[in-house]
Symmetry: C2
């Protein structure tokens, strides 16, 4: 019993000591955020309601509408907002492909302060209730502390957390400790079409005086331990088309006498990766940076529970058994996934068709130091070789439809230090220092073009289900994410005073 | 010049001699059909306008509407029409699966006349303009003598040709030389659900006094030579399901560490057939009737132009080089086609998803003497073996979703003789005696249950594109098909008088 009391006192001291690091200003800001949390959830609900799907061109108008809503929100904060129109997107078979504009906004021009640029996106992946959603994906629905809806965590929630962090200063008439810039786009899920040219065009102007670029468009590695991200895999997406005759055929009338495009495509797709996840394309691993045991050891403290992960995903077995192997294969090795086939029969029921033209879709997540052009060449050569062996008269076309580079940063830089301090204050924990298996193409794009320091600062949890059914952000993460961004602005300002 | 005149006289004599076989009654009937051809085309247009798609349950009401339209048409001819309701179809995930009724109709009950039963179907395969149709598939459109529209040749055109053949007698107050029965169903494209039980139930009543069953639901083998069909391949349709976790995953967040259901499915589908069209399932050829050279020789006179066929289909090369090999592989050997995948990404564009559950659809066209149960066992065992080697923790399910037997008849029977005579009169040609690579499951079903003689009597041409975009029937085939059915009724009656 005495031991228990002592322990409680010790813990209480730790609590006080931790709390004492939080300044009066931070307390005021955190209090404001807590008090306004229902309002912040309501705004997220309004944003989720806009089906700003960037994959299907028919929804382009919704993205533009979403950009307008965000513009109004930023102007209400007193930011100068520029709406930058992108050139018309040239795309076959599609008349509605005018790109939505991009927001470039700024708040504060004090030359003595650092300038932090926040990047986020307002578009979402497709979602339909029929895909297996338990709630309408475009009606934000709170259940057991989670806010379910398409875009809740990817990326409308984090964008709003950042805006509300700034609002917590502005609406209380507190000085914002840094200059803030915003880059908000509407085509991220479709490969950030047009953004690269815009960054190049604005490099000498908008991006010239930026100190740090902060991206919040990924998640923690666990459900409860915050994380900072210093690397992400690239993404090389391919479309492999096999084309036979001039029309679909009936499998009774032509089955057994024609070279079926589907047979060719299935064989091509089956030549890409084996059952252990090993990619079979010759040379593909040549440029992969060597993984040393030292590196794996860095993964030991990271909060990643294999059992919990498997339960979340609903599988009993993963391709590897240890945390270190799993993290290496998510972060340091490439992977290949086959996503589906366009042009074949895909509906429920039976259709005994021999489709005339089928397009297989697959992608490779590349890692440092794989080169996109080399990957493209290797994939095309491999598929041509496999196809040649089949002696099929059908027509093969392989296209790399999207190519995004991997990204890798030095996690000892000041913006990481400031973020670590903010995280410790809000979440009372050190963050996991992680890389991301997913791709944030703009991380490497920003770094390459602007030469500025880039950090990825996620606020969503590992089970948020980006791109999936039941996408969500918890109310806890959304509100504390707002606080951590506010605290980060103060910490980065403090670092610059030193 | 004199030689030319002689030739013209000779040709004119040939014309007369051929024409002289045609009776005055036939002339009158053929004249009526020619005079009314625009009306017949208009009726086909009205029938095509009904989107009676039986594959997608949401269109069930349209099939029922189509059945009502056909009922009215038959009643106007003076037929007794029974609308037979089928039991509710039990199907998961679907509330709209009440089956459309079946028409059993009869016209004439003269015990001294033979009774010919005509079977056709009023449902169609799915069709959307977006699939690549040049015209609206549900607006019958005449271009260069062809009538384009879904169901034009499969099977609304042939059903109407038969009805109009009877009309040519009735509306001219001519005696119909035989008793006529009609079986018109609305679920053929979806596997004639419910029909087998109905035939069994009606076997002692409706089917008891039938002399011949005539089915017109396939096409000629060429564009210009008529055909009679004495066999068809079966159809065993399979759905192979691979199921991973509880939700779709993001290929960045999980690619490289999970066993992807799509990889398993692609490997399973790739194990089925090689690039030469040879089926790789162990034992599948064991029960295939031996093809002898003698049999191939019967194919010599058949009007099947390989060059023309390749041009129609739009391919440069087929799996075999000679007519005899092509016909053997369409008629006497099984084939396997992969139709598509349900549950994977199938839309244009990019979606970097790892689908959690994917269903591959493929089918095997079987031939005599393959046994459906054996085929089912062989397929399941093979897929289980391939899957076991992958050591995947995913869940495999294989289901035979449809099983239709092949059919084979004796082409020397009287109904074939009568049809040959009718064809010679209308088309001035002997028909090709052919088998069909497609499946008319009801051919073997009728024969097995009713023990009646079955004949398949197509009127569409080889390039009609059943199940395909630009499905059509030519005005020439539609109108002369009507005449040949009328002539057949007279010829079969004559044979019975002998």
């Amino acid at each position: 019993m005495i031991f228990h009391l002592l322990l409680l006192m010790l813990l209480s001291d730790v609590g006080k000591s931790s709390a004492s690091n939080i300044t009066a200003l931070e307390k005021q800001i955190f209090h404001y955020i807590d008090e306004n949390q229902n309002k912040f959830v309501q705004v997220l609900k309004e944003w989720v309601a806009v089906e700003s799907d960037s994959i299907q061109p028919k929804y382009r108008q919704n993205i533009t509408q979403m950009i307008e809503i965000a513009k109004d929100k930023l102007q209400a904060l007193g930011a100068d907002v520029c709406i930058i129109n992108l050139p018309i997107h040239q795309q076959q078979d599609d008349q509605n492909s005018a790109l939505p504009p991009v927001i470039l906004a700024e708040l504060g021009k004090d030359e003595n302060k650092p300038t932090v640029c926040f990047y986020g996106h307002l578009d979402v992946m497709p979602a339909k209730k029929a895909d297996g959603w338990e709630t309408d994906p475009y009606i934000l629905t709170e259940r057991n502390g989670n806010l379910y809806g398409r875009g809740a965590t990817d990326d409308k929630g984090p964008v709003l957390a950042w805006i509300h962090a700034v609002e917590a200063f502005r609406l209380q008439n507190l000085k914002i400790p840094v200059n803030i810039k915003f880059v908000l786009e509407g085509m991220e899920e479709a490969g950030s079409t047009g953004l690269e040219d815009l960054i190049k065009n604005e490099n000498e102007r908008f991006f010239s005086n930026i100190s740090y670029i902060v991206i919040s468009d990924n998640t923690w590695l666990s459900k409860s331990t915050p994380a900072l991200t210093y690397g992400s895999r690239g993404n090389a997406c391919f479309a492999v088309t096999v084309e036979g005759g001039v029309k679909d055929l009936h499998s009774g009338a032509a089955g057994g006498i024609v070279h079926e495009p589907m047979s060719d495509l299935i064989a091509l797709l089956d030549s890409l990766v084996d059952s252990s996840g090993h990619i079979l394309i010759p040379g593909i691993y040549d440029d992969v940076s060597c993984i040393v045991e030292e590196q794996k050891k860095q993964y030991e403290p990271i909060a990643f529970n294999l059992t919990e992960y498997k339960a979340d995903v609903g599988v009993t077995t993963l391709l590897y058994d240890t945390k270190e192997d799993i993290l290496s294969h998510l972060w340091c090795y490439p992977s290949l996934s086959v996503h589906g086939i366009e042009g074949a029969f895909h509906e429920p029921g039976i259709k005994t068709v021999i489709p005339r033209k089928v397009i297989g879709k697959f992608s490779i997540r590349q890692v440092p130091d794989m080169n996109l052009t080399t990957v493209e060449t290797q994939v095309k050569q491999h598929l041509r070789d496999v196809f040649a062996k089949r002696q099929s008269p059908n027509k093969l076309t392989v296209e790399m439809t999207l190519g995004a580079m991997p990204w890798f940063a030095d996690s000892r830089e000041p913006q990481y230090e400031a973020a670590k301090k903010a995280i410790k204050k809000v979440f009372q924990k050190d963050p996991d220092m992680i890389r991301d298996g997913s791709t944030i193409p703009i991380a490497s794009m920003f770094e390459k073009i602007t030469k500025k320091k880039v950090m990825m600062f996620p606020i969503g949890a590992s089970d948020d289900g980006e791109h999936s059914q039941q996408e969500k952000i918890s109310r806890y993460n959304y509100i504390n994410g707002t606080k951590v961004f506010a605290s980060f602005l103060l910490e980065i300002s403090e670092l610059h005073k030193d």
